[in-house]
Amino acid sequence: MTTAEKYVTAAYLVVLAVVLLYVVIYAFKLARLEREVLRLARLAAERREAGEAPRVEPAEPVRTSI
């Protein structure tokens, strides 16, 4: 592998690495979101057992539009 080839492959690998890093960071974010959803769900369940209707207004439906 000549130095040029090493560098070119390095460039492609760097791009791949950055994209993967982004995906990993995003995985953490999604994990945090999921924990929050579970916490809210548990609270809503407790509230329902306590007989009070869960006073949680439904958020508007999530739709991805570009």
């Binding site: 000549t2 130095t3 040029a4 080839e5 560098y7 070119v8 390095a10 460039a11 492609y12 760097v14 791009v15 950055v18 994209v19 982004y22 995003y26 974010k29 999604l30 979101l33 929050e36 959803v37 809210l40 609270l43 809503a44 869960p54 006073r55 949680v56 207004e57 439904p58 958020a59 508007e60 439906p61 999530v62 991805t64 539009s65 570009i66």
Partner: protein, 227 residues
Amino acid sequence: MSLRNNRGVALASTAALLLLAGISLAFFWVPDDVDQGFSQRIFYIHVPVALTAYACFGWGAWKALRLLWTGEVRYDLESYTAVHMGVIFGILTLVTGSIWARISWGVWWSWGERQLVLFLVLFLFYSAYFMLRYSTEPGPRRERMSAVYALFGVVLIPVSFLAIRLAEGFIHPTVFTRDGPQMAGSMFFVFCVCFAGTLALAGALYANELLGKRVDASLRELEEARA
């Protein structure tokens, strides 16, 4: 509340397909460039990523314009995510660009390479965009200011490209700027495949991040409604 994200999934799969095809073509099928030899193959990732970054900044500015025009709040998140994508691809352009400079001219940074210098300026500019967002309270005011700033960004791109070209009049660059490689038919085809791949990749990441931001916003609303 179905979290269908079929747009994101569709984009991601097309991106994977296109990039796989493009990169393998770039590495194995397309002939060497006549004068630059093998190193020219970096071209098939560096330039598509750069063009995708421009596309993201343009998309962010378009969404910002729509926010100022219609006042709909959802455009703020879209503009914000698009600019975020633009910065990520901008950083990739800087990295691959400096690697290319290293291969072609033995230096990690060359002020002679106009596009590289432009991305440096844009990187500074759009980092300030995030500073602006982090130092203002969320609300209509922040949305409108971010939108105005994003519009300034898209006007700045051609203006500073012209400025960089003019700057070469008096800053003596190491004069070896190459004038865009002439591309044979097959090269151009591979370039297009790679470009479509990076655009699809940007679209997929954009759709995912936008979804994440929207879920975040809905959760905060839920959190508040519960209190």
